[in-house]
């Protein structure tokens, strides 16, 4: 119990709890992970909401994201400055949305952002091409890629504007309920780290 006060106040924890799908313990663990990435930059004491941001490079090297082909996009979608640096708030937000407790509607919104590479609020052909390249490690020929992308748009585009709006996207993913689910090892593999935190505190 003792270490809780040193990191967050109870009010802060309550706020985090109300705004995410995590419990107190999980938030503390997330803090542990966040702190672990850059112990010199991230303070242990978060009671004053320090304005600290970690660059994308650190975040995407987390084991949870490291192998994900969309890691950059994921991080960018959740960073407040759009550049990929995450404050602790953004960090918690990201894992909250990726957790299995988050409802599908919420995931859909962020999935759309992730796939929307050029952030024009539509998934257009270039976005699809990038997605496909990431999905297949660029093994397809350019011709195949264009063909697939055309087909996708043809299939999913309901209002005929040649690109996928959020409505089209949501309609399409309504059949894939368990997409965008990230196993949060962050919450289960950092026990040791947390113990270390306790001993410090």
């Amino acid at each position: 119990m003792g270490n809780k006060q040193t990191i967050f106040t109870d009010e802060q924890l309550d706020a985090y709890q109300d705004c995410t799908f995590f419990t107190r313990k999980e938030i503390l663990r997330l803090h542990g992970r966040y702190h672990e990435m850059a112990p010199n930059v991230v303070p242990m004491d978060y009671t004053k909401d320090p304005d600290v941001k970690l660059p994308m490079q650190l975040i995407i090297n987390m084991p949870e994201l490291k192998e994900n082909p969309f890691k950059e996009r994921i991080v960018e979608s959740f960073s407040e400055d759009g550049e990929g640096s995450l404050s602790f708030n953004d960090f918690v937000d990201m894992f909250s949305v990726l957790s299995e407790m988050a409802p599908r509607e919420l995931k859909a919104i962020y999935a759309f952002k992730i796939y929307d590479f050029n952030t024009d609020n539509f998934i257009c052909k270039s976005d699809l091409e990038k997605t496909l390249n990431k999905l297949t490690r660029e093994e397809l020929t350019a011709e195949e890629i264009t063909l697939v992308c055309e087909k996708v748009i043809e299939e999913a585009d309901m209002d005929g504007d040649g690109k996928l709006g959020f409505a089209d996207f949501e309609n399409m993913i309504s059949k894939a309920p368990d997409f965008l689910r990230q196993p949060l090892q962050a919450l289960y593999c950092c026990q040791a780290n947390e113990d270390a935190v306790k001993s410090v505190a």
């Binding site: 999905l135 697939v148 993913i173 368990d178």
Partner: protein, 872 residues
């Protein structure tokens, strides 16, 4: 990308006053009225819009509202993002700053969404979230326009906060959690809401402030206590970490097998607890000494020593157990029948609800995109974090896409007649072969079991040899269960199905037919032959049979992972490298689980502690499978539609398995005479007779008359069930009709979306032309106008005429036959003259309005052709 970044990086942008206003405005706009641009009038943004909005009747049936909101949006809740986007583009210009100009189509959405705005007062949490999340594209224009407004904005924010504050605590938290906002924003909103709540409560009870503070303190500490409690519950979740690891390495599809296994395990634990506490523990009190010797092989056969234990039906007493003289007694018969009955009722409800839930989630609109779109955007399994697995998945995906291309090319070729005939013949032959195998397997099991029965009844020896002979039947059954599936999958390869999914489903169907018919023939043997034999206690015999089947099946499962996975890996890595690592066969493993669970359910009545045994075996299976999977297997090559597969697994567990078990249990309880000399129901004509006798006794007591009444008038009265089923049928029929209606609405709404898209394109094009003209300063205004209007002129006349025609025909023809569709069309129909009467203070605006009008007409003209499809 650039504008996006720019907007965020620039701190001035963030904190500039206009944007602040803008940002603060956003939530409540979503919350209440932003679906429709016309509701800007609500915020003092009055003008023609408001009036125009009121011109149209609410012609949309309520049922369509939900759909409309589903489809009527454009952007995800990228509030800040979209705003900055268009906020910036304001200067570089693209659209004219006048909001009326920028957007004023007489949108159908507007009409559809109107009802929402009328129901502001009762915004449910759900719809609130929905609208937050779905921002209509129109809003972009509006938000930019809102920069020009000087309205008091705080009021609106208060409304949002107030709205949140009026929700219950749980709802509020859920609503905040679901907001697609940054954490900062969410916390801000939350703090405001909390402040308001405290303010309100203080205001309400100024005198009792001390008391309320105390109360709030306790509420907060209660919540914290609850939270920490839920954390501990979290710890109780079985194998959480293991499941995460499996998910990370093998993806969701393999994970679904383990989740299913865990789910079944929970069923069994639950059943075991019920049976143990309500049947077995009381029996211990009245236990008789067991004088049989224990040899060791009994663990496998379940006979011998175990015959005289609480494991089997035959051991239970039929007496009422009373520890204290003259105290309350415990009726074993009733305990037995009620604990089993209640367990089955709970199972039934659980299965039904989980099935319904997953059906509604996964099969809501089955006839939308099947192929590529979802393949591209939905296939990525974000669960996978293992490097090898990721690479493999990527490789599989690209091969799959390539294969799809090959398929497309092949389909173009089309099969010739002879090829088709050959195909059909192959399918027929393989079906005959598979059904024939199933029948042969059943016949084998049947004759084996009959000879087995002779062994039981005639030679009552208790030596090792006869015990070992008992194992022949279960071993044979398990062998059949283990090897025929290989034959089936070989058949499946032979048939060369067009899609792999086809093959999977056909193979699963054949396997389930095999397994269920084997269980069915065994049930027939138990209920018709064992029950009629002259054995002393047939229930115990059946219980032993099931026990053996369960145990042997468990051993085969372990052997299966040893040979099927471990040996294959050894072969695949050393001897024959081309084979590679084996894959985890989800379908086969899940069917094994369903089979085992079916046996357990049947066995509950004859051997109340069987769920306990199954519980142990399932936990062992979990660990063995986990280790074998992690050591031996590679992630599956096929992309499974996991969610749908899970649904079909639950369905299979429900339909042949659980319902079959229910009928077997029903026959046993109602029809078959329990044995005379053993078990709790000895001497009764059927097990159910215990309940009727109990009711007769109850009739003597006035205090329990209501139980008797319920029994006579509800449970045992045909009339009641007749009425009940009639009511259920009526409700089903009504729901069916509602669904049909919704389907029509969906169709129409989809059409509207398509039209809307055309509208949008058309308008944008025209606006661009107009802008180009407007930005040309050299051209005098009047000329300009003339030019633009003249350029549209040709399209104008015919469009109007046609629209009038289309309009009439809609009203005349479809109104009678399709009230709902006519309603929509009428609603969207735009009285052609309403706009012209308006004073056009700004020439640009009226032109845009006219443009929109024409776009709408053109769209409707096209629509007319389509509408004829709807009219028979």
């Amino acid at each position: 990308m650039s504008y996006y970044n720019e907007a965020f990086e620039n701190p001035d942008y963030h904190f500039s006053e206009t944007l602040e206003i803008d940002r603060r405005r956003s939530p409540q706009k979503n919350l209440f009225s932003r679906q429709t641009p016309y509701d800007a009038s609500l915020h003092g943004f009055c003008g023609e819009h408001g009036r125009r909005g009121q011109n149209y009747p609410l012609a949309i049936p309520m049922a369509s509202m939900r759909h409309s909101s589903e489809y009527s949006e454009g952007l995800p809740g990228v509030n800040v993002l979209s705003r900055s986007l268009y906020g910036n583009s304001m200067d570089t210009l693209f659209f004219e700053p006048e909001p009326e100009l920028a957007y004023s189509p007489p949108s159908t959405f507007h009409l559809l969404d109107r009802p929402y705005t009328r129901r502001i007062s009762n915004v449910s949490e759900d719809s609130f979230i929905q609208r937050r999340n779905r921002r209509p594209p129109d809003e972009i224009f509006l938000t930019s326009s809102s920069l020009f407004e000087t309205d008091p904005v705080c009021k609106e924010e208060e409304e949002l906060v107030g709205n949140l504050a009026s929700m219950s605590a749980g709802e509020r938290i859920k609503a905040i959690q679901k907001m697609p906002e940054t954490m900062k924003k969410k916390r801000e909103i939350r703090n405001k809401v909390l402040n308001q709540i405290t303010k309100k409560s203080k205001h309400n009870s100024t005198q009792l402030s001390c008391c309320t503070e105390c109360l709030q303190g306790t509420v907060v500490s209660f919540r914290r206590f609850g939270n920490s409690l839920s954390e501990y519950f979290h710890l109780l979740q079985l194998w959480h970490k293991t499941l995460k690891i499996i998910g990370a390495k093998f993806g969701t599809s393999v994970l679904s097998y383990f989740l299913f296994l865990k789910w079944l395990l929970i069923f069994n634990i639950f059943s075991f607890l019920i049976n143990f506490s309500f049947i077995t523990v009381p029996q211990f009190v009245a236990a008789e000494p067991n004088n049989l010797s224990f040899m060791g092989l009994e663990l496998l056969t379940g006979a011998g020593y175990f015959q005289q234990t609480v494991l089997y039906y035959g051991f239970y007493t039929n007496a009422t157990i009373s520890k204290i003289e003259n105290g309350s007694s415990y009726n074993m018969q009733l305990a037995y029948i009620f604990s089993v009955g209640i367990y089955f009722v709970i199972c039934f409800l659980t299965l039904l609800f989980s099935m319904a839930k997953s059906f509604s989630r996964n099969f809501t609109n089955p006839h939308t995109h099947s192929g590529n779109a979802s393949k591209l955007l939905c296939t990525w399994d974000f669960n996978i974090t293992n490097e090898k697995a990721v690479k493999l998945t990527q490789k599989n995906l690209s091969t799959q896409i390539k294969e799809d291309f090959a398929d497309v090319n092949r389909e173009v070729l089309n099969f010739s007649l002879t090829e088709r005939v050959v195909r059909i013949v192959i399918h027929l032959v393989s079906w005959v072969a598979s059904l024939g195998t199933a029948v042969a397997a059943c016949a084998g099991v049947y004759f084996l079991s009959i000879s087995n029965l002779k062994l039981f009844v005639k030679e009552r020896k208790n030596n090792l040899e006869s015990q070992a002979a008992m194992l022949v039947l279960p071993v044979a059954t398990s062998l059949l269960n283990a090897f025929i599936p290989f034959f089936y999958s070989w058949l499946g390869h032979l048939e060369r199905f067009q899609t792999p999914r086809h093959q999977i489903y056909v193979t699963i169907t054949r396997n389930i037919i095999l397994k269920i018919s084997i269980v069915g023939i065994l049930c027939y043997y138990w209920l018709n032959i064992v029950a009629a034999s002259e054995s002393q206690c047939w229930e115990t015999l059946v219980g032993q049979d099931i026990y053996r089947l369960v145990v042997v099946d468990f051993m085969f499962c372990l052997l299966g992972s040893f040979f099927g996975e471990f040996l294959l890996r050894i072969i695949g890595t050393t001897v024959c490298v081309s084979l590679g690592l084996p894959e985890f066969d989800i379908g086969r493993n899940v069917l094994d689980l369903i089979y085992a669970q079916t046996l357990t359910w049947i066995g509950i009545l004859f051997s109340p502690l069987l769920p306990g045994i199954q519980m142990i075996s399932f936990s062992i299976v979990f660990y063995v499978k986990k280790v074998s999977l992690l050591m031996n297997c590679q992630p599956p090559r096929k992309v499974w539609r996991t969610a749908q597969m899970t649904t079909s697994f639950i369905f299979l567990l429900f339909f042949p398995s659980f319902l079959g078990v229910l009928s077997v249990i029903g026959v046993t309880v109602w029809r078959i005479k329990p044995s005379e000399e053993c078990g709790p129901f000895r001497g009764l004509s059927s097990m159910y007779a215990a309940v009727s006798e109990w009711i007769e006794i109850l009739e003597n007591y006035t205090a329990s008359k209501w139980v008797v009444w319920i029994y006579h008038n509800l449970l045992s009265s045909e009339l009641f069930f007749f009425i009940l089923s009639v009511v259920v049928l009526i409700i089903t029929y009504l729901h069916w009709q509602i669904i049909e209606g919704r389907k029509t609405t969906t169709k129409l709404l989809k059409k509207q979306i398509a039209n809307e898209g055309k509208d949008k394109k058309f308008i944008l094009e025209k606006l661009r032309t107009l802008q180009r003209v407007d930005q040309n300063p050299s051209a005098p205004r009047g000329q300009d106008q003339q030019r633009s209007s003249s350029s549209y002129y040709p399209s104008r006349q015919p469009a109007q005429q046609v629209s009038g025609r289309a309009f009439d025909s809609n009203q005349n023809a479809s109104y009678n036959e399709y009230p709902s569709s006519a309603g929509i069309l009428r609603g969207t129909g735009f009285p052609p003259d309403s706009e012209k009467s308006e004073p056009s203070s700004r020439p640009g605006m009226s032109e845009a309005v006219a443009l929109v009008l024409r776009a709408r007409e053109a769209a409707q003209w096209e629509d007319e052709g389509d509408n004829e499809d709807f009219q028979p």
